[in-house]
Symmetry: C2
Subunit: 201 residues, 2 copies
């Protein structure tokens, strides 16, 4: 392999292959593309990589990815303080923000309870969540938006029990996805959809 | 979009999206992955990008990508000087090298003749090829390994005519790919396969 590429190109291909979903063919395609771009553009990418890594940490309030000590969402004055949405990961915050449906604030757990992976409640931002909810007079509802996996169910139950003394706790609905087809839905999804049925308005 | 990501993360996603085949979703996935990696690893990727761009140029003999003035293949003493393989692009050299079938040297044209894109023979490394072949006593065969596209055919004919006075000129075979199926092959491929038929040994 390394005899096929000139040394700096081999190193670049090797580095690119460490990225998720990037195999040898994609790494080669990306590397040859990069060699054809102007140096300013390549430097901009390199700089964006290092700066993102250096500058982005976690919000001290909600633990969402943030370049500031407190993130944009926590600082935004027009956010509803009454609703707090609890998610496993920052990527869930990003997904929910893209819907533009939720106007409250978030709390990122930083993972799910998973004894198999050595992840207990103390490794997650759960204590900070309980404190945050317990000390707040504004929070009227905590919405648990956590995947319906084994670890997700465990975490939902655990966090739910801890928060119920302080406020109303809900979780997002599970059921047939929009555009989905009853015929092709798996049994668990269908069972959840039945279980979560509501009165027609 | 930029309100969803904290600023340095937004810049990284934007930069990653410039890469070929990387859309918004992949860019986000790569960026969030990068934020989770140790800083040394991110710096290594950034450095590999800049160094590859800075150090990799073209071989002065064959125009293959090279960090040295003359590339590894041109300098290798165990390469057969009798066979010269002409390709459009460095990625074709890499593909051929991976077969380990060809032991001669290469010449990279740097593209194909394409008047529609303003690419004439003078924009390609054709003059250098003719000089190289004309001045060499070693080269006994030039193999044109160029894609069978309209531009490829034009380039093959043009280069072939220029080189025929000096040496034997051949081109690679076109036909049914290995593992291919007659039933599903397109007509042009099938016609080429018929046309290129050979005596059974």
């Amino acid at each position: 392999m390394s005899t096929v590429y000139t040394r700096p190109l081999a190193r670049l291909v090797e580095q690119l292959q460490r990225l998720p979903g990037v195999g040898p063919k994609t790494a080669q395609r990306l590397a040859l593309h990069i060699l054809k771009r102007p140096e300013t553009e390549v430097r901009a990418l390199a700089q964006a990589l290092v700066e993102a890594k250096q500058q982005v940490g976690f919000c001290s309030v909600c633990f969402h990815l943030s370049a500031e000590p407190v993130c944009d969402i926590c600082r935004a004055p027009n956010r509803e303080g009454a609703a707090l949405c609890v998610v496993a990961d920052s990527r869930d915050v990003i997904a929910l923000e893209k819907t533009r449906e939720f106007r409250g604030r978030y709390h990122v757990l930083g993972g799910l309870i998973s004894p198999m992976d050595g992840l207990g409640p103390e490794q997650l931002n759960i204590q900070a969540l309980v404190q945050r909810v317990g000390q707040s007079d504004d929070i009227k509802e905590v919405i648990l938006a956590i995947n319906p996996s084994v670890e997700g169910e465990t975490t939902t139950l655990y966090v739910g029990q801890l928060l119920k003394p302080f406020t109303r706790v809900t979780r997002i609905a599970f059921g047939l996805p929009m555009g989905g087809d009853l015929e092709y839905a798996d049994e668990v999804t269908l069972a959840r959809a039945l279980e979560g049925r509501r009165e027609l308005d």
